[in-house]
Amino acid sequence: MNDIVINAVLSLSALGVAAAVILYFVAQRFKVIEDPRIDQVNELLPGANCGGCGYAGCRQFAEAIVKNESLEDMNCPVGGDESMKEIASLLGLEVEEQLKMIAVVRCNGTFNNAPEKVQYDGPASCEFEHNLAAGSSGCPNGCLGLGDCVESCNFDAIYINDERGIPEVSEKNCVACGACVEACPRNIIELRPKGKKDRRVFVSCVNTEKGGPAKKNCSVACIGCGKCVKTCPFDAITMENNLATIDPEKCKLCRKCAPVCPTGAILEANFPMRKPKEGQEQSDKPVDKQIELKHTTTVLMYPEVPKPAKKAAPKKDTPNDTQKQSKTDQGGKEA
């Protein structure tokens, strides 16, 4: 009886020792030498694996940094300058400060502005609707509002406002990883610098149709009239395919372009309300209208110059006008 126990213990121990010896040599032979700095850099990264840096994940980004020995064109949008500085000091490298970016939705085709003409009842995905038809408002470039961008976001930063039918980007949560930009089949979302004091001016439309057809489907479409291009003192606005685009690098946030836009397609973000000038008549000064947003702290507004009584009349009878007006007052206090 004892013999069996002893034999078993001995033979198993011998096997174990043999295996250990083999494993030791194998481990020596096939050792993977890895730069320990990769692990250290990886520790400093946020670990979101969002792909915003252009690499598959944080680990791959860390490997690339250590391999390149340079931080040129390398940026982690999630960690931002803080993370990049820590990595730079760890590796003894220099890093340039990056502009803070944010995703901007360049469409204002809400239920009110671009009313539904046809109903779409297929699967709830923008990509489907985009492939099948021009969309329920008839605008071939406008937001479809089915939320492919919301699905793509890993940071809880973009939501569809169910009263307006278009997405809103959270000022706080958006890290500008670009996932929603990729996901949008209509290329409405773009990354723009966050701007001084988070202030931005942008054309909230991507429609390239001529003025008439564009206006037919959406009351706030860019009609390509070119007034803003002429007004801009810094040549920051370009007109291409009946669509104005504001170059954020050249834009000095002077706010001169927005009041001249006849359709209110140029939006201002996070600016204070314009103050009425003394001696100016109440009727011809631009009235700032704040857009009511639900999921973000951004203050979005557009100035509207009151038109002669004939044209202004039909606009006033929309029920939302009064609502907007009251919100404008609140917005003024916030700003």
């Binding site: 046809v118 699967p123 021009a134 057809p213």
Partner: protein, 445 residues
């Protein structure tokens, strides 16, 4: 009668051929026509007229320059008012020639007599192909593939059989049925011309058995023609699909990813055969087609002979006007047709029907979970697994979808029709096909 059919899959939707006994009515010339320059598969044609030009009915207005493209002719006489972008079925805008109608003067070369021209002895294959290309004939079954390209058999392949599709398996549509009843002889002459163009001596005409009058009529007429045989087919959707019809009539199976010429067959629709007759014997370009306008609540379901470019709204008006209950207007058949986003879109070469559905039947049923019942697999006429393909497409696993032969799907919608959970199988498969197609094209670069 011994009826033929294809083997795998297929479904039996309600037939609803409401307009089957309505004679083809010549639709009045509209005041304005919208003729898109791209109405066929392949490259868009190039306009050859300018603003303010005077055109006659039958005059060439856009030339197809690529290999797979077709000429477009004016369907009316009048003045070109402009060449602009106009919305098509999907709501997107496409280049369109807009013509203000003025009188109805036809091009002198077109023979407008009622007489049937039976003499085809002098025709040569090359001249037939040239004529079809010149007159802009495309397949009228729905896919609008240019007919002259179909007749050019690639080198190394030989055509043995011409197959004529008189199946009309889509519910509601009766355009082909009426055409066979009223223009049977002309259609058969067209078939003989196509046989000559292809240098074959055999043609099979397949007609589903829900049209016994058409089978009897065409069989009777076909006795006078050499080499044309008429077969009755069991009623089953999608028998009118090229590959299914070949299987049903000849027993041959077209290999995956290949064209019917691989098994020696060329398939053409009866409507195409009729327009071939008109092009070759009467010198008339493709400027009119038979369109079924129907719907259960539409006052007067009808078959119209319509000029290409007529707005759909006028057709619906003539058929009794849009009922108040309307929820959806579909261009094409109920299984494969596309819902229209506006009634102002024009009739084009591929428009076989305009269907008006009331809101209560046109609403989709809410989507539920897949219960793995396998009905879609049984229904798929191509022997695919639609539930799997749709899930692969949904999860963006396009390589997997390609391995599962997603590109063989012909989008007949049988899976979608049969699904008890109301899953949008075809929608996902279409998206998957789109992506896999892009992937394959990029690979070639």
């Amino acid at each position: 009668m011994n009826l033929k059919t294809f083997k795998i899959g297929g479904v039996h939707p309600e037939e609803n051929k409401l307009s089957a006994d309505k004679e083809i009515e010549v639709f009045p010339v509209p005041k304005k026509v919208y003729i898109p320059i791209s109405q066929n598969l392949g490259a868009p044609s190039k306009p050859v007229v300018n603003k303010k030009d005077q055109v006659k009915a039958g005059q060439l207005i856009a030339k197809g320059e690529a290999f797979i493209s077709a000429n477009v002719h004016s369907s009316v006489a009048g003045t070109v008012s402009k060449i602009d972008k106009v919305i098509d079925q999907s709501g997107y805008k496409r280049d369109t020639i807009i013509i203000d109608v003025d009188g109805d003067e036809w091009d002198e070369s077109i023979d407008r007599s009622e007489e049937i021209n039976r003499d085809i002895t002098h025709l040569e294959p090359d001249s037939i192909i040239k004529k079809l290309g010149e007159k802009g004939i495309v397949g009228l079954g729905g896919a609008t593939f240019p007919s002259h390209v179909k007749l050019m058999v690639p080198e190394g392949k030989t055509a043995e059989t011409l197959i004529i599709n008189g199946v009309e398996c889509e519910p509601y549509l009766t355009a082909d049925h009426r055409l066979m009843m009223e223009k049977g002889e002309e259609m058969l002459i067209g078939v003989s011309i196509l046989m000559k163009g292809l240098k074959v001596d055999k043609a099979y005409i397949g007609i589903e058995s829900n049209k016994p009058d058409a089978i009897a009529h065409i069989s009777n007429l076909a006795q006078k023609f050499k080499g044309i045989e008429v077969y009755g087919l069991k009623v089953k959707y999608p028998q009118g699909a090229e590959k299914q019809l070949i299987k049903a009539l000849t027993g041959r199976e077209v290999p995956s990813g290949k064209l019917p010429i691989e098994v020696g067959c060329v398939v053409n629709n009866v409507g195409t055969a009729f327009s071939v007759y008109e092009a070759v014997q009467k010198n008339k370009p493709l400027m009119e087609r038979v369109v079924t306008v129907t719907g259960k609540e539409l006052p007067k379901p009808s078959n119209f002979l319509v000029r290409i470019g007529t707005p759909v709204s006028e057709l619906v008006e003539k058929a009794g006007g849009l009922p108040e209950s309307t929820g959806k207007v579909v261009s094409g058949g109920p299984m494969m047709g596309k819902a229209l986003t506006s009634l102002e879109v024009p009739v084009i070469k591929g428009t076989s029907g305009i269907l008006v559905f009331p809101a209560r039947v046109s609403k989709r049923v809410p989507m539920q979970h897949c219960i793995r019942c396998g009905k879609c697999v049984t229904a798929c006429p191509m022997g695919l697994e639609p539930y799997l393909l749709s899930q692969l497409a949904q999860k963006e696993r396009y390589e997997g979808a390609e391995d599962e032969r997603i590109m063989d799907c012909m989008e007949c919608g049988s899976c979608h029709f049969t699904c008890p959970s109301g899953r949008p199988l075809l929608d996902y498969i279409r998206l998957g096909k789109n992506k896999v197609g892009q992937m394959i094209r990029n690979r070639g670069k």
